[in-house]
Amino acid sequence: MGYAQGPDVSPPQDPVAFVGQRLQTAKPLRQVMRYVFPDHWSFLLGEAALYSFVVLVATGVFLGFFYTPSTTEVTWTGPYAPLSGESLSQAYASVLDLSFTVPAGLLMRQTHHWAANLFLVAITLHLLRIFYTAAFRKPRELNYFVGVTLLGLAILEGYAGYSLLDDLLSGMGLAIGYGTALSIPGVGGALGSLIWDGPFPGGDDFLSRLFVVHVFILPAIIAGLIAAHLAMIVRPHHTQFRGPGRRERNVVGSPLWPAYALRSLGFFAAVAAILVLLGAFVQINPIWQWGPFDPWVGENGAQPDWYLGWLIGALRLMPNWEIHAFGATVAPNPFFGGILFPGLVFGVLYAAPWLDRRLWSRDERVHHLLDRPRDNPRRTAFATAFVTLVVVVLFAGSADRLFLATSSSYELLVWVFRALVFVAPVVAWVVARRVCLRLRREDAHPLRGVDGQVVQRAASGGFETLGSARNGGPSDRQPDGTPKTSTGQASRPKAD
């Protein structure tokens, strides 16, 4: 088939025709513009993660121009008196220069760090939304795995990022990372020496390797997986909540063009604005206060970024068990908190679609309509217990700060946390299950109260309001809790 003939046009005059005559893009463009996005506030969480990543790349490129990945000692002379004249590594000195002398350097660095935190917050909340509403069910399992992988890579990327600075905080974090790498049964010693170019604190090449990992390898993989994550949602479309006209077979919402595109770009600008304002006004990681790292220096009260706290917590809570056999240390202690625990957490996340088929939804059908958390108390109770476990361990990571704040015995605090690890998830399970059952019985919104009113249609054809659904009105759920219909939100007066 030859190229379609049409009047020749110039790009500014008619870009659609100009590109279309060459690449046949008019139809795909129209399809893209008509692509429908369901509207729900929780669908913005993934977008917040995406836009944080864009801010990370933009600010990161700027930072990359000024950072020197070298442990060579130099005498730093800069405007910060307590460190001026000190012998520091080039890496640390370059970040101090960036912070104190490069125009907008500190702004970019703090914005970058805030963006990393928001990136992880948004991914985590997005994952919780997916989990609680069971959006990971068929046909979206593959995309869900991409998303869980992105979470793991984002944690690694954040860790690699603040480890580059070579201040005391990053050095202590790297020591723990080294200890954890060494604890992998069998290969740990070789792996640790391989990554660090020798025993900790590592050879001259270590920082350049970490730099390449942080600015190229991991971002490239993350960007590729984000692209796959978006591409893989195009064909099955987004899920949607139940509502008027919403069915398993359709998707109801705003077309991309123009309102959705404008709102989403506005959201991007809002995310960027919040991150820049945080970077301007809220100090984060004041590296000059930590001072340089040496292996024999440590500091009380050092805390990692929040998304690593659960790993520190697991390392802290573990009793001092190790497994010895054949004269070897088969499982050194950090293995349990640093490898096994995150392995189990991610194992559960990856297994969720199968767990759902066996234990929660108990079917293998395609699901495009989302569950509300209450719709499946089994799943919601499990998710709540699971989240509670990780959050307890996360807070245990700050046990040293709590210890100083409460001036109780540190040992007592750790024992309390060890007990909570077992007790809190059970309590969370029971509470979540009861809340679900009650919400289902009353068909109330947890925050707004009862949705909707009971309306009776008279024989004459008129409608009569009988009262709110709470007062014994008919529920749109079957006795066993499965949704009876997809109605119920047609008219939603906001009760109190």
């Binding site: 702004l107 170019d197 008027p244 970077g279 750790v414 997809s486």
Partner: protein
């Protein structure tokens, strides 16, 4: 070509019609058509968007100018953030109050039909028609693949040295203890409760096997393991400063003792609070560390300075496969 297209379209339409008639289990058609299309036609909103865009542009230009004159982080970030916020407001007002507001409905795809999958699998299979020794070829390809993996992995072993280097420590019998400024450490300068960091004279201070903590306790209270009676002259002891849990510096010394909170003088690692009882040879009394800190035998030289009486009692730092339990 055109005939085939028509047939395809017809099939597609039939399939869609059939699909529409079928309801998913547990749902029925509520008969509600959610489609709507509103044209806001609001000149007021258009003006607001124009003002917000202009304000945002001015703020961003101001940011650009002030970067050149090296203004403060707060001023720069405030301008850039405010500019972006104005842009965000403009876009959101435009998206919600200027352009067409539409709720539309799209049908979803239903995934591959079994027939489509079968046709593709047949297509795949048809390409190897007549190939009889499939297993042999697969096996041979496996050999090549394994070889390629090995070939790809071998260069990576060049990145790191052998883990045997993890076992090294510069301490030998007779090595003098020096402080961070390379000055010798005198025994008579240490009081009970003292706590300082020492290094082997002339060695690399950053090597994990180098730094030790030196503490002094009342000799009468010592309960050192068997065979270490001579290691603590006048109650002065030295232990590796690198935590046997995850490799942080054991930089806290709990002394003097608060009887309400703790049982005795102890070294504490700030990373995960592994706690080592100095009076019992740095035995772990709390926290996750799996073995004691290696002890350095000490003796006091004729000039009253501290020297090592032998090598460290075990391997330094976080445990790995090659860490021997008996050598703690």
């Amino acid at each position: 070509m055109r005939a085939r297209l028509t047939r395809l379209l017809l099939l597609f339409g039939l399939a869609r019609g059939a699909a529409r008639a079928r309801n998913e289990p547990g749902e029925h058609d509520d008969g509600i058509d959610p489609r709507r299309r509103d044209v806001p036609a609001s000149p007021g909103n258009e003006l607001l968007v124009a003002v917000l865009l202009a304000v945002g542009g001015l703020l961003l230009v101001a940011f650009g100018v002030l970067v050149a004159v090296e203004a403060s982080t707060q001023l720069l970030g405030g301008l850039l953030g405010a500019g972006l916020a104005a842009l965000a407001a403009a876009l959101i007002v435009a998206g919600k109050g200027v352009v067409v507001q539409e709720t539309s409905v799209q049908e979803r795809i239903s995934g591959d039909s079994p027939e489509a999958v079968q046709r593709t699998e047949d297509e795949l299979a048809s390409g190897i028609e007549g190939v009889s020794r499939r297993r042999l070829l697969l096996g041979a390809a496996g050999v090549t693949g394994t070889g390629a993996l090995v070939a790809a992995a071998v260069p990576f072993t060049a990145i790191g040295p052998s883990p045997e280097a993890l076992l090294g420590s510069p301490w030998r019998a007779g090595t003098a203890l020096v402080d961070e400024q390379h000055a010798a450490i005198r025994a008579d300068e240490l009081e009970v409760g003292s706590f300082l960091t020492a290094f082997p004279r002339g060695a690399d201070m950053r090597e994990l096997g180098s730094p030790v903590v030196v503490v002094r306790a009342d000799p009468a209270e010592l309960r050192l393991p068997a065979g270490r009676a001579e290691w603590a002259p006048e109650g002065i002891m030295a232990f590796s400063k690198i935590c046997t849990h995850a490799g942080c510096a054991v930089s806290l010394y709990r002394y003097p003792v608060d009887e309400r909170l703790s049982s005795g003088p102890a070294l504490v690692c700030p990373c995960h609070y592994s706690t080592f009882d100095v009076r019992r040879g740095a035995r772990v009394i709390f926290g996750p560390a799996g073995r004691p800190l290696p002890q350095l035998p000490l003796r006091i030289a004729a000039d009253n300075t501290l020297v090592a009486g032998g090598p460290l009692s075990g391997s330094v730092g976080p445990a790995w496969w090659g860490t021997r339990r008996g050598r703690t």
